[in-house]
Point group: C2
Chain length 110, copies 2
């Protein structure tokens, strides 16, 4: 978790799983820079609660956490976010799936 | 996605984010073997729809997809799964968070 989720459920999670194109080291650096700009932008948005991501050589998983569907919809339409997504689709993602989920329960390690 | 999700929403997702202990190459191999046994076992369970995972050096994300909360609860109590989780907690996970989520909407790349 990059930023602690401060909310108790119910809140929302957006799960993005992406099959990544093969990347050179230089492309990986560019990809990480883009992911970082997206994170910087996301955390300024109303309703943003946190974000996790991990990347295997060809599969990336990003989960972001939000207060409501309304906050998610505003974020999806944010002009800079729209631009970043277009770059991602063009340069890094082979295919991707997005799932909008209501987090009903949450528990952690003791 | 290791196995295609055949269902249309609504269905359930279990998001597990884990902070991993530092691993040697040998430990990574052991970790991957354990993850694979868990996947083999999960896909034999009723209501299992699919699983995704990705791992950064110190953060792992596993998302499994299920037909219902009831199927998830049965899986959580499966004796072999309970054993595998105990090994995971002891050897690989520093801390972890589990979120049970209702997938309300899903869309993918064109």
């Amino acid at each position: 978790m990059i930023k602690e989720v401060l909310s108790q459920p119910p809140y929302y999670a957006v799960i993005i799983t992406s099959k990544l194109k093969p990347m050179s080291d230089m492309t990986v650096a560019k990809y990480l820079a883009l992911a970082d700009s997206m994170y910087q932008l996301a955390q300024q948005q109303p309703g943003f609660l946190g974000m996790d991501y991990a990347r295997d050589p060809n599969l990336g998983i990003t989960v972001s956490y939000w207060r409501s569907v309304d906050d998610i919809e505003k974020w999806q339409k944010h002009p800079e976010h729209v631009d970043i997504k277009a770059i991602g689709r063009q340069e890094f993602y082979d295919t991707y799936d997005i799932r909008i989920c209501l987090v009903e329960r949450e528990y952690g390690s003791p």
